[in-house]
């Protein structure tokens, strides 16, 4: 419950940032560089004299967009593939070996390697983060499909002449909804963190689009001189991810998953 409220505040704040905050997150005032938090610059300024508060608020949007898009895309693609793989036995054996292989590559390394192939942009960060998630979603879906496939309800539908797509859509998918929604919240939380990791390692969101990750990445150099540059986006990030995780835990209990 707390999670939902915090999340809602952060999401609204981010979404409406341009409406109620007129500052420009890219405006540089070299004279005011590395100013500690004061009235006018609540969170201080960074090494180019940009306002950390404005940047952090703008960063909310990028981080939430990345989180939401990665979880939705991961879910859509993963579920589709998972259903197909789970239902066709012949595909299953081969595809699961492939999935095992892909999952053996640590996600951050895979995402980094993918980013190295593409130029930095929000879209590419999303792609690099979705790909490692897909096999994980597939596993969850496939496991459920395998157990549901032999379920009497499905057997019955099949006996009545229902075609496979119909069975998948109307019998199996609804049963999967609860675990998938819970899974989605965790993917969302980890995507927001991973965006920050990629940016930290220099392969994330481009610098002219402020995200929590790249604000901290640029601020890390100044951690001993101007801790506020990484403190505030870090707090926002931790709070948001925490809120999403709490929502996930809440959903898990409410929906009684596992």
């Amino acid at each position: 419950m707390v999670g939902v409220v915090v999340l809602a505040i952060i999401a609204l704040g981010g979404a409406f940032a341009p409406v109620w905050w007129t500052g420009d997150p890219l405006e540089m005032r070299p004279i005011e560089r590395l100013t500690s938090p004061v009235a006018g610059h609540w969170f201080g300024t960074d090494n180019f004299g940009r306002d950390v508060y404005t940047r952090t608020i703008y960063g909310t949007r990028v981080s939430l967009i990345v989180g939401a898009t990665v979880s939705i895309l991961g879910l859509l693609i993963g579920t589709t593939l998972g259903l197909v793989i789970g239902f066709y036995r012949r595909l299953d054996a081969v595809m699961m070996r492939v999935m095992d292989g892909l999952m053996a590559i640590p996600a951050i390394l895979l995402a980094l390697a993918l980013m190295a192939l593409m130029k930095t942009s929000v879209r590419n960060v999303i792609i690099a983060l979705v790909i490692p998630e897909i096999p994980r979603v597939i596993r969850v879906v496939r496991a459920s499909v395998l157990s549901l496939r032999e379920h009497t309800m499905v057997e019955g539908a099949r006996a009545l002449g229902a075609r496979t797509p119909r069975i998948l859509m109307f019998y199996i998918l609804p049963a999967l909804a609860a675990p998938l929604i819970v899974q989605a919240t965790y993917i969302c939380a980890s995507a927001i963190l991973f965006e920050a990791y990629l940016s930290f390692l220099g392969a994330g969101t481009p610098p002219h689009i402020p995200s929590w990750g790249n604000i901290m990445a640029e601020g890390k150099t100044y951690v001993q001189l101007a801790f506020w540059i990484i403190l505030f986006p870090g707090l926002f990030l931790a709070l948001t991810v925490l809120a999403i995780n709490l929502v996930g835990d809440g959903l898990r209990e409410t929906l009684d998953v596992r």
Partner: protein, 529 residues
């Protein structure tokens, strides 16, 4: 270039930074032995000093290789491996004799043949080397210790070439290595320098280790720049590569390392406040920042569009964003650096004038296509310059596509001659130390050789002509006049736009003493208490 005094440029800043430890030349400490732990500015990846102009490879090479001539703190060229030399026939014939006792790390004596093969290999790649090669009729050993160089036409820069202090430096390596791998990277790291490279302890991305070369015979003169006696006082030098500045700063602060080559200027006040640490400007001539347009593709293939750049660049604004701490920088319109022998304001634009710039953009017939600007976001100074430029370019009507990437990606990308939409680029940012831009012969940015020029590929027959005239001029006044002429044309063509000049202090523990002034960090003469 002998006899130019070390006056002028940023003397105030350099002195302020060095005041604590530097009177005149630093006190020569007698302490022997010990290990120096050093944080270099980059990771050593390429070991071949001819294949790359990367400063990190140059710095590495100063440990293990020796040079025929060196450049002292006043830019005078003096013999190093050479014992005696002479020129005859109006400077068309030169002979050089190596001094005694020179030995490679594998035990072999250094011969004239080694020097000749090393020079030949270097002259294939280095711009000044190529210029020398173009004027050369013959270079060959005449006995084990002596080689001769014959010119086909007068060339005023023979010693400047052999004593070139910065990338690419004509380092001397065994002939078998230099000759065997003319077109590909060398495989062995054997020199005759005062340190040996410990290959077993080299961990790319982490550490590089050098040990004292006990067989090295230093010259008798006092050290100055890369000239004089290279007396090694320490047993070992360990480079620890720490890319994260905050971590590097903390490590220096805690005494876990002794010397940090390149602290960002924001850290300097904090370092100076620490009683155990001190800062020192090793290269008071400083560094020049560049905005380089690509002359090959629209919009900057149009001279008017390029000239618009002259009127947007407000150097103090750039310097504030890129460097930050005022005492370390100053605006400078001289393409051959302020404080250098060819300092001049000829042809430089007046005050920034955005209206004029807008007008020029219009006249250039700019069609609104995106201008691809490469932004090396991992390097604070070029990143700052890129961000400022993006704002200014948009203000005068350009449609800017700022592409952020790390420096190594910029290095790969800038080589692409394709149009920006197919992987090329329109504008990049870089910086060069003064020694590399101090006269028309070494200056990589002022070349009109088109495809043969440095990235950006300007074409100007006039520049090429003037450069040849400059190189052949043997009289200082004539050189000066030609350099001014070259600067005017370079500004008119907008070969690049300088955004200022600055010095970078190095920081070390007070236990470290004897650091020499030079563009590269040198480790002979240095002691640790």
């Amino acid at each position: 270039m002998a006899g130019v005094s070390r006056r002028g440029f940023l003397a105030g800043a350099a002195a302020a930074a060095a005041a604590a430890t530097l009177g005149a030349p630093r006190v020569h400490a007698q302490k022997k032995g010990g290990t120096i732990r050093f944080i270099p500015h980059a990771d050593l990846k390429v070991l071949d000093p001819v294949a790359t102009t990367a400063y990190i490879t140059r710095n590495h090479s100063y440990f293990i290789y020796d040079t025929l001539f060196g450049t002292d703190a006043d830019l005078a060229i003096k013999p190093q491996m050479v014992a005696k030399y002479a020129s005859s026939n109006k400077g068309l014939k030169w002979s050089f004799t190596l001094r005694d006792g020179l030995k490679f790390h594998d035990g072999a004596a250094v011969t004239a043949e080694d020097a000749v093969e090393s020079l030949k290999r270097w002259a294939k790649k280095d711009p000044l080397g190529r210029l020398l090669a173009a004027h050369m009729a013959k270079i060959a050993p005449s006995d084990r210790k002596t080689f001769t160089l014959e010119l086909s036409q007068p060339f005023g820069l023979v010693l400047d070439a052999l004593g070139k202090p910065s990338s690419n430096v004509p380092f001397i390596m065994p002939a078998r290595i230099a000759a065997a791998s003319a077109d590909e990277p060398i495989k062995e790291t054997i020199g005759s320098g005062p340190f040996k490279f410990v290959k077993d302890e080299w961990q790319p991305g982490n550490q590089v280790v050098y040990v004292k070369n006990p067989d090295y015979v230093p010259r008798q003169e006092k050290p100055s720049g890369s000239t004089g006696g290279k007396v090694v006082n320490v047993d070992r030098v360990v480079w620890r590569y720490i890319p994260d500045h905050a971590t590097a700063n903390a490590a220096l602060d805690a005494g876990e390392v002794d010397w940090w080559e390149n602290p960002p200027l924001d850290f300097v006040p904090k370092i100076e406040a620490n009683a155990a640490l001190t800062t020192f400007v090793t290269d008071p001539r400083g560094t020049q920042g560049w905005i380089r347009p690509n002359h090959k593709h629209p919009p900057f293939n149009n001279k008017k569009a390029r000239q618009a750049l002259l009127y947007i660049v407000d150097q103090p604004k750039y310097l504030k964003a890129a460097i930050g701490v005022e005492k370390y920088y100053k605006p400078c319109p001289a393409l051959f650096t302020c404080g250098g022998p060819f300092e001049s304001a000829a042809g430089a634009p007046g005050k920034p004038d955005l209206d004029r710039a807008r007008q020029l953009v219009k006249e250039s017939g700019y069609d609104g296509r995106p201008v691809v600007v490469l932004d090396p976001s991992d390097i604070a100074l070029t990143h700052g310059a890129a961000l400022v430029t993006r704002e200014l370019l948009s203000q005068i009507g350009f449609n800017v596509d700022l592409q952020a990437m790390d420096w190594s990606s910029v290095v790969a990308r800038r080589a692409k001659k394709e149009p920006p939409q197919q992987g090329g680029w329109n504008m990049l940012f870089t910086w060069w130390i003064a020694s590399d831009v101090i006269n028309p012969a070494v200056h990589a940015g002022i070349s009109g050789a088109g495809d043969g020029a440095w990235f950006g590929w300007p074409e100007s027959g006039r520049i090429e002509e003037l450069k040849v005239q400059w190189a052949r001029a043997t009289d200082r006044a004539k050189q000066k006049q030609l350099a001014e002429e070259i600067q005017k044309v370079a500004y008119d063509e907008v070969m690049y736009v300088p955004f200022g000049q600055w010095v970078l202090p190095t920081a070390h523990r007070k236990a470290v003493s004897g650091v020499l002034q030079f563009p590269a960090p040198l480790f002979w003469n240095v002691s640790i208490a």
